[in-house]
Amino acid sequence: MTSIIPMLQRVMFAFLGLVVLGGCSQENSQTKDQTKTIPFASSYQAVKAKPFVITNATLLTGTGEQINNASILIENGKIKALGDSIDVDSAVTVLDAQGKWVTPGLIDVHSHLGVYPSPGIESSQDGNEMTSPVTAEVWAEHSVWTQDPQMPLALAGGVTTFQVLPGSGNLIGGRGVTLKNVFARSVQGMKFPGAPHSLKMACGENPKRVYGSKGRAPSTRMGNVAGYRTAWIKAAEYRRQWDSYNKSLDTTKPKKRPKRDLKLETLAKVLRGNILVHNHCYRAEEMIVMIDIAKEFGYKISAFHHAIEAYKIADVLAKEGICAAVWADWWGFKHEAFDQVRENAAMVDKANACAIIHSDSALGIQHLNQEAAKAMAAGNHNGLALQAKDAIRWITSNAAKAIGIADQTGSLEVGKMADMVIWSENPFSIYSKAEKVFIDGDLKYDRNDPSLQPVSDFDLGILNPEGVRL
């Protein structure tokens, strides 16, 4: 594509940022450091769907199992039962999936859908608040355009949940948000119930380039690190003030209420463990520096994103319990992306660390299964014995774990949300297509029924007044 399109896409992946996870549930139990009502709370309501059972399917559960000739029963939007032999009321609707495969709905931990929408025009570049190197006060959800036509395209690729992150132009880019891939008139209507917020942090070239080119700090990697630590020192002090104030409320002599600060409020929530850190970081030594910063200030890094060199430190990531979210094969666009190996995800998995394939691309998000397939094949070509049941975790349960929703979705297990995809064949084939995509047991997309293929407001009448875009 010419001109503006690749430019914007480059900007998107060049500025992968940091996301803050902060869950509504956590916020409910939060200390008294903010207003009583939860702002921008999820208003998502699952569509109440009738019970149904999928039969004769090959299930990839996302827990490392493959169950052949299996059935899966859905009731009240949840998985009620699954296995090669389950009891089902004869009144329940049956979907015969002979020859087809069923996986959990795919989850992308790194997208910019809605904040870098299509078409990529000047006025829609809403993902990177590059006016200060620490913008923990901004929330990606406030930039999300719910009618981004890229969302239904991702749904057709089997993606039921995606995290939207601010870009990576800043050291601390702001809060990210996890959305269900559903039609809504508000971003609150898409917010995954109970999902924590994330905090997007970024290592390396992007922040130092953005600010160094303006003659401001940071202009070096050491400047980056000074910037993170300075921010966390302020956050720790802010937290201490609020903790002290909150504690005083239970005494006879309440202290003066500290001034509320949106930036430090977000960072304090990270220190309290209510927001999950998603850290854009390519290089091995930078990741290990970031691990030390996290230890210095007492927070945990949930995942390194674009972790090009994760394979070099896979043992460390395993020990620290940090996920590595990676591309299957992208490389070369920056010096810090020069040491990519095709086996990266497989080598992380081999070390028993948490491997995730992410997209950072509205194109890649439509083919997460293919990206995982390439990463799996590369590992196997070098002697591993990865199977579909293993690699599916990289785009389902491991992703759910990293964004704090693994107790609700990301695997085919009894009690989990019925976020599922019926694939025409093994999803790790290039010929495989998502045929039916369910969110909370409701059929949101059916490849064989145009009336069940959502189109955004933007798609409506855009090519000709009577039609839809696709």
Binding site: M1, T2, S3, I4, I5, P6, L8, Q9, R10, F13, A14, S118, P119, G120, I121, P149, Q150, L153, E205, R209, Y311, K312, A314, D315, D329, W330, W331, G332, F333, K334, H335, F338, D339, Q340, V341, R342, E343, M347, A351, A362, L363, Q366, H367, Q370, A373, K374, M376, A377, A378, H381, N382, F428, S429, I430, Y431, K433, I462, L463, R469, L470
Partner: protein, 430 residues
């Protein structure tokens, strides 16, 4: 597998196309499924014999005489070495390291005359990483700078590192229309159209009146003299004019422009080309596209769709594929994934293969490459499965008959860190 520069033979064919030959052993590949990309289609359980870099025999149970290595490829599939029709291989080492990028110029007098061939770096790490994944050839093109004409691209073979793999010095001349063309022409497509039209008219005038214009003469043309001279090859139909254009009515304008100036037009990008598939077929205009790109990323690409390639093929349009724009250099081999997706969305498999081999060779005039056919150079890949399947891997790669090492900088890094023990000794594993 290292050959000194002196082993390269260059057999002249024309000014911009020549036949590059390298020293190669003789091989017999046996019992493979051959996806020939030729009129023979798919040949099951067949053999290929190649000698001195050229395919000599194709058939069952071949028993050539002489000395050669035999490779049993039972259960394997063989294709021509693949090609990506739009890359910056050898012009870009790291995109964000400007000192390693040679794909564009800001020199005002270099538009059409900007010929990227001398800058192509054949020891780039990008070449082996693509080669081990089955890419044996590439079209290398300039990126637009200050002129609506981007310059002239080349065709290369991805030979081992100190070999100059240039096969076609100037294989096409590039320009842009639509948003990109407008941006560089004052802000409107209408201006861009005029700039293209006037340049072609002036180039045509100049080539017929060249003797009137001597050094020192006061030029009153819209382009530099060397740019107008460069357009001569297009006007003489020696090379195509590849115009990057997306919107369907913009494509029709370019078809009309090409007809007016009697040039061979190829369109590139082509997001909405399927909407004017019949007009493209009728005008015999080939299309370079990435069939996996289905994002309505701009207002000139709103109609883009995953079955666009299939629709164009059904209308009879010749297709050449590239891969996703921002990885079409470092991972130019991913053109195979793009082709596979086109096939998943309705393009016949053999047409998908042709769009990453034969068609590209034909569009850009690359001699003796692109098919598994007697007389062609032996650019061959042995795959461990369906060559368009996402999980298939290249097992052996031959370029001009020479077997390529399956090693890249990335595989070296992989091997160094495959086991995470004895870290202090890693520096000594070479």
């Amino acid at each position: 597998m290292k050959f000194p520069m002196t082993s390269i033979l260059i057999l002249g064919l024309s000014a911009s196309s020549f036949l590059l030959q390298i020293k190669a052993e003789d091989y017999l590949i046996k019992n493979a499924t051959l996806h020939t990309a030729s009129d023979q289609g798919v040949l099951e359980n067949s053999d290929i014999f190649f000698s001195d870099g050229f395919i000599m025999q194709i058939g069952k149970n071949l028993k050539p005489s002489g000395n050669y290595q035999t490779i049993d490829a039972s259960g394997k599939q063989v294709t021509p070495g693949l090609i990506n029709a739009s890359t910056q291989i050898g012009l870009v080492e790291i995109d964000a390291a400007s000192s390693s990028v040679d794909s564009t110029t800001q020199l005002k007098q270099q538009g059409a005359s900007f010929s990227i061939a001398p800058a192509i770096h054949f020891a780039s790490t990008v070449i082996p990483q693509n080669r081990i994944n089955g890419l044996t050839r590439a079209i290398v093109k300039p990126v637009g700078g200050t002129s609506i004409f981007h310059g002239q691209g080349s065709a290369i073979a991805l030979l081992s590192s100190f070999t100059n793999g240039l096969t076609n010095k100037n294989s096409a001349l590039y320009a842009s229309y639509g948003i990109a063309g407008a941006n560089i022409s004052g802000g409107s497509r209408a201006s861009a159209y005029t700039v293209l039209d006037q340049a072609l008219s002036e180039a045509n005038y100049l080539r017929h009146n060249r003797n009137r214009y001597l050094p020192g003469f006061d030029w009153h043309f819209s382009q530099s003299v060397q740019d107008l001279d460069a357009l001569k090859q297009v006007l003489e139909k020696k090379i195509p004019l590849v115009i990057q254009v997306h919107r369907s009515d913009d494509i029709l304008q370019m078809i009309a422009l090409a007809k007016k100036h009697d040039i061979r037009l190829v369109i590139s990008g082509a997001s909405e080309a399927w909407q004017v598939a019949d007009q493209l077929a009728q005008a015999n205009v080939a299309v370079i596209m990435d069939p996996i790109m289905n994002l309505p990323g701009s207002f000139e690409a709103l109609a883009v769709r995953l079955d666009g390639a299939a629709i164009l093929n059904r209308a009879g349009v010749k297709l050449a594929f590239t891969g996703i724009d921002w990885q079409s250099t470092h991972n130019a081999y991913l053109v195979r994934q793009s082709a596979g997706n086109a096939v998943a969305y309705g393009l016949p498999a053999e047409e998908g293969l042709k769009a990453i081999s034969r068609n590209t060779a034909e569009i850009f005039g690359i001699e003796n490459y692109g098919q598994i056919k007697v007389g062609m150079q032996a650019d061959l890949v042995i795959w461990d499965g369906d060559p368009l399947e996402i999980t298939s891997m290249a097992e052996k790669v031959f370029i001009m008959g020479q077997q390529q090492p399956m090693v890249s900088r990335a595989t070296r890094l992989r091997d160094r860190y495959w086991e995470l023990d004895n870290i202090s000794q890693k520096a000594y594993t070479r």
